[in-house]
Symmetry: C2
Subunit: 166 residues, 2 copies
């Protein structure tokens, strides 16, 4: 499938940040989440290449053009007692889909998980995004239907933080 | 509510590990997940206090007895461009529930999130665990119903990792 494609996947460097941000904006549009996309290039320099990096990024290039990325970090399983990898985002431009770029990007993160002896590789997907869910299931992934994600942010988070001082 | 309770919440130290593992076993029983609980004390020494810690733990004590814990790590939001906190586990012994221990433990993690300028505080809950879901919603948490968690592990993870080399 990918025999005739000039595909390069490698860790992002600082000079990739403008291209990376452009692709993140495209993903925010696809996920209909542009209203929460507020990240800046400076934040990415800190997050990926600062004194205490909090995430890692891979870039995908086809014919020398940046066409996709994956951003991940280490999580931790209490019951396994070992770190895993959590894939926060994966994105491939619509123009180059169906040529194995997403699969290779996804698999490269899996290879990093294996190299680092991680017990699990996890991610979330929007429930309406059935093409992605089918793609992952075809690769052997399990849907954790029994779990519900919850979140506190903004004022609600500040209010709960106050309860710790009472 | 908690005025008459001798409650201390503090970061775990290495000497707390045996008590912590005992509480993790209790949680595995409550969640009906003992079949995947394989973590050892040595793994916890590495994960929490090794050269590269991958998680942090808080311990809760009532009358000097360890009765609960919270384990968390930093995640990262692509769209916010900032780290958040992910609460992997929170547990309070049934014998001391209803006295504000869980709320204080949960709020202490929120306070840490605020102190570290984290954009979000997130966690997962088993869908059948409605007492917990109601507890979190009462604190202002949002249920991210639109997202599905997925996972690769074991042989399926190894097979996907192989695809990166093709």
């Amino acid at each position: 499938m990918s025999a005739n494609i000039d595909l390069v996947i490698r860790p992002a460097t600082e000079s990739d940040i403008p291209a990376l941000l452009g692709l993140i904006w495209e993903l925010a549009e696809y996920e209909k989440l542009t209203h929460i996309m507020v990240a800046t290039e400076e934040q990415y320099r800190q997050a990926l290449f600062g004194a205490r990096p909090v995430a890692e990024a891979l870039m995908a290039f086809v014919d020398g053009q940046a066409v996709g990325y994956a951003i991940f970090f280490h999580n931790f399983s209490t019951f396994l007692g070992r770190p895993g990898i959590y894939l926060e985002d994966i994105y491939v431009r619509p123009q180059v889909r169906g040529r194995g770029v997403g699969k290779k990007l996804f698999a490269t993160v899996a290879r990093i998980a294996r190299e680092r002896n991680c017990g699990r590789y996890e991610w979330c997907v929007l429930k309406w995004n059935t093409p992605s869910i089918d793609f992952y299931k075809a690769l052997g992934a399990e849907a954790l239907d029994g779990w519900l994600m919850m979140r506190l942010d903004g004022d609600a988070l500040a209010k709960v933080a106050d309860l710790a001082e009472e």
